[in-house]
Amino acid sequence: MKHELKFTVNGHPYELHIRPKTLLVQVLRDHLGLTGTKRGCSCSSCAACTVLLNGMAVKSCSVLALQAEGAEVLTVEGLARGPELNPLQQAFLDHGAFQCGFCTPGMLMAATALLRETPKPNKDQIREGIDANICRCTGYNSIIRAVTAVANGEYQEAAK
């Protein structure tokens, strides 16, 4: 009954055997131990589970893992290079763009997808880019400031 799933996560290839009903988020968290990706609901409504699937932001709780066959998945654990945080992560630190941090992995991934698609987003585009992601702590504006700072090139040094 188990099916094979071959895909890469954060650049590492994986081959797993999973029950078909397994959701992408379950593979990431429960099988691969990548618990950075969170779950905040069971109705696809909070986006805490956002990861990039072939570069697109998706809710990993709403994607059947087997549909990621052959795909490249990027999770929050894949953002930093070793001890080096990436520009967006640094900007989140400087702007207090998180508090409890539970929405943060999903938020970072949504913002990453946004910046890849629209490197210089305006405020409205940023709002739109993270609108699926519920944050009960920050009120979003600090997150918008952090993303803006990255878009403005304030973290180019860090990017090198």
Partner: protein, 291 residues
């Protein structure tokens, strides 16, 4: 809790249709799963076989031809529609609608076919596509058939599709000159399913503000998207004036069959429809004049 199922991933449309034929009621099709997986997690849907069509080739393309109009494969994602330059240029209303549908994450994986087959009465694409006069094509091992979208959506979460059929394509005729189409959904917070939605398409006569072809479709105003036929009749063949639009809007609101729920009372839905139909019709006219 999600029940276990047998997972089948056909590689061609033919294989998919054969599997559908074979497993009948025991199977369910999954495209993006954005709606289906929620139902499965709640145990409301528990198929023995899940047929994953997301990888079936040939169903994820958008093409435009001035004669045949627009063809959207059933597996085209919401996001692809939103971003398609072809659609932006010729069917702006579709990309505008998509931009406010769910969220980027859902649009990236969810498909237009899945949305129409799910047939949520509050869904956004159906009213717009109906206003644009779209047809849908279904396929089965017996061959394809095409019906107007209006005849496809039947009731709350119910379509005219048979168990052995797949939705394969949506076709939208090329827009006539001097046609304006607009859609707006009314929500409390920006991004949520609409309390009501209104799509209006108006074709003006070549010379003045006389209303030719007109379609007014109401979403969230009944068990399925509803053509406001009396409102359309009130406009068709007449010169557009503010009073006329007001009158049409009143009629549309009267035709609607909204329900009361936690989001709004039926009465309030009617009142909002009244305002929205008037505003959307006016906007459609001004777009028509520009086209």
């Amino acid at each position: 809790m999600m029940k276990d199922f047998e997972y089948l991933a056909p590689k061609t449309l033919g294989d998919a249709l054969a599997l559908l034929e074979q497993h009948g009621d025991d199977c369910k099709v999954i495209a993006g799963g954005q709606s289906l997986l929620i139902l499965m997690r709640q145990g409301l849907v528990a198929p023995a076989y899940l047929i994953d069509i997301k990888g079936v080739p040939g169903l994820a393309t958008i093409t435009f031809d001035p004669k045949e109009g627009l063809k959207i494969g059933a597996l085209v994602t919401h996001r692809a529609i939103e971003k398609s330059p072809e659609i932006r240029q010729r069917y702006g209303v579709l990309s505008e609608m998509e931009r406010r549908l769910a969220s980027i994450q859902t649009r990236n994986w969810g498909t237009i076919g899945g949305n129409l087959c799910h047939a949520d009465p509050a869904g956004d694409p159906a009213p717009v596509l109906m206003a644009l006069g779209a047809t849908v094509t279904m396929a089965s091992t017996q061959g394809p058939r095409t019906v107007p979208l209006e005849d496809f959506v039947l009731d709350y979460f119910e379509t005219a599709m048979q168990h052995n059929e797949l939705l394969t394509e949506i076709r939208v005729p090329a827009p006539a000159p001097r046609t304006g189409t607009v859609y707006s959904k009314f929500t409390v917070i920006e991004s949520e399913l609409g309390t009501v939605g209104v799509a209006v398409s108006i074709t003006l006569s070549p010379t003045d503000r006389t209303c030719g072809d007109v379609r007014i479709v109401l979403g969230g105003a009944g068990p399925r998207p509803l053509r406001a036929k009396q409102a359309e009749d009130a406009l068709r063949g007449k010169r557009i004036t503010d009073d006329l639009l007001k009158d049409a809007a009143e009629r549309a609101a009267a035709e609607a069959q909204p329900i009361s729920d936690i989001n709004a009372s039926a009465d309030y839905r009617r009142e909002v429809l009244k305002v929205q139909v008037r505003r959307m019709a006016a906007e459609a006219v001004s777009r028509a004049e520009r086209n």
